[in-house]
């Protein structure tokens, strides 16, 4: 469809660049629903038994695979289809993402109705996961091109939406299930249908709004720095050439280690707070703590990415790793002195930097590899997230289990984990330290004017 083509997405004179962040948020506020998918897990274990699980009902362990498959396909599609997204333009990618993500819900509704789990794996897991990957990277390079003066803030806004989407999805999903449930039926399939339609329409609004700047466009009053910073290039690196540079893999490890340190404790935050402070933190208070962490995860994305425009990307990651390592090392001490406030403060700052790591990395890539293929390169980098998503929780869970098996009291079972996390952040600090400007031999040669215009 030609209306989806890149050339039909070029902004007409008079278009405000401030229309682009809401377009990006239309996508990210929907696909970030993945963080809230777990609200369906428990109801889906009772689809046949209604009040309690029967032997034919699905097990939680089987249902856990839906999210894992979706995250795997998020990483895989972002990596494999990144170049297609970059060259086809944001509207085509957002449109496809909307159909895949919304379609994933509709296919899953069929799976729930027929009680066939493999259909849900295929629907939300594969199709939805591809929608997640395409949607996640689709607005990144567009935002960077519209905001050359504040690329961190611009991508931070979109990726903040991904972190905040669960705030909407979680209560909305619970409300929809309650509305469609009867004493003899749990309304998961109906909730999936409504969410599929609503998310598709919401994302399509983003695809309609989004525009790319005309070739050579610059914001009013913006003058590119005459003396570029050492780590900021005005050249471009081709996506597959970027994968051959040590800089890409150092940033890959920087992201992977930052995410591993954060993701491991996100899943354990509720249990950890109750076990480290028995009698002081109730289950309800722990749920509040988890909510507060989600909020700081979201706000940190915008705050740290915007800060990186001022202090630089490398320094921002130095902050994450240095402050994070110190705070992780302090957490066991907060348990020893019984200070819930200090414990909460430590984790809120840590989790803000976890979110900040996601939001700052597109601008880091833009600094190192230029804007031409930054979306596609970002797609490949997301595999670091998939890797961390596997190792983070496994690391935390196994260390805790080992500690308890060794007779360590539950209140102290997380101490070693905290020191391991601090250690990982120190390694991340070193990876960040080694990042230097990309060698000129990796830069793309000057393109013909027409190709260059298409690229912009």
């Amino acid at each position: 469809m030609s209306v989806l083509d890149r050339k039909h997405t070029i902004a007409a004179p008079g278009f405000s660049r401030w229309m682009v962040p809401p377009a990006a948020l239309c996508i990210h506020l929907c696909i970030g629903q993945a963080y809230a998918f777990s609200v369906f897990n428990l109801p889906m274990t009772k689809l046949l038994g209604i009040t309690q699980s029967t032997p034919d009902d699905w097990k939680l362990t089987e249902l856990g695979w839906i999210f894992s498959i979706a995250i795997f396909f998020l990483g895989a599609s972002a990596a494999v289809l990144g170049r297609w997204v970059e060259e086809g333009g944001p509207r085509r990618a957002m449109f496809t993402s909307a159909l895949c993500f919304g379609g994933g819900f509709l296919v899953s509704a069929v799976g729930v109705r027929l009680h066939e789990l493999w259909i849900i794996y295929l629907g939300y897991g594969v199709l939805g996961g591809i929608g997640l990957g395409l949607g996640y990277i689709s607005p990144v390079s567009t935002l960077i091109k519209w905001f050359p003066d504040r690329p961190g803030m611009a991508t931070g806004m979109a990726i903040m939406g991904f972190g905040g989407a669960a705030f909407i999805a979680s209560p909305l999903s619970v409300w929809l299930m309650a509305m469609f449930s009867t004493p003899t039926h749990i309304g998961v399939a109906e909730a999936f249908v409504v969410l599929g339609i609503v998310y598709t329409l919401f994302m399509l609004v983003g695809a309609v709004i989004v525009r790319i700047p005309a070739p050579g466009w610059t914001p009013a009053g913006y003058v590119a720095p005459a003396q570029p910073k050492k780590l900021v290039t005005d050249k471009h690196v081709y996506v597959y050439q970027a994968l051959k540079t040590p800089q890409f893999w150092l940033i890959w490890w920087v992201l992977c280690l930052n995410v591993t340190a954060g993701i491991g404790v996100i899943g354990q935050a509720s249990a950890m707070s109750q076990e480290m402070f028995p009698g002081q933190v109730t289950a309800i208070a722990a749920a509040g703590f988890v909510g507060l962490m989600s909020l700081f995860n979201m706000v940190g994305r915008f705050f740290w990415a915007s800060t990186s425009d001022i202090i630089g990307r490398k320094n921002t990651y130095f902050c994450f790793f240095a402050i994070g390592a110190v705070l992780y090392a302090l957490v066991p001490h907060t348990g020893t002195i019984g200070s819930v406030t200090a414990f909460v403060l430590c984790f809120l700052v840590i989790i803000s930097m976890y979110g900040g790591g996601f939001a700052t990395v597109p601008a880091y890539l833009k600094d190192m590899f230029g804007t031409r293929y930054v979306g596609a390169i970002h797609g490949w980098l997301i595999t670091a997230w998939s890797m961390a998503g596997i190792f983070g929780p496994v690391l935390v869970n196994y260390i805790r289990e080992y500690q308890i098996d060794q007779g360590v009291p539950k209140a102290q079972a997380y101490n070693v984990t905290m020191y391991v996390m601090a250690g990982l952040l120190v390694i991340g600090f070193l990876c960040n330290l080694f990042i230097q400007a990309v060698d000129a031999r990796h830069h793309m040669r000057d393109e013909p004017a027409e190709a260059s215009a298409m690229a912009d």
Partner: protein, 41 residues
């Protein structure tokens, strides 16, 4: 080419676009905050 676009979009378009994404997000944040307050009760 200098900027020739940054003043033409109608304020109503901007208001609608930001409201479209901002209102659901604000609603979700308020829901979360009200739950989080239980931590301090």
């Amino acid at each position: 080419m200098a900027n020739q676009h940054s003043t033409g979009t109608r304020p109503l378009h901007l208001f609608l676009a930001w409201g479209f994404v901002g209102i659901p997000l604000a609603w979700g944040v308020l829901q979360t905050l009200s739950n989080a307050m239980k931590l301090f009760q």
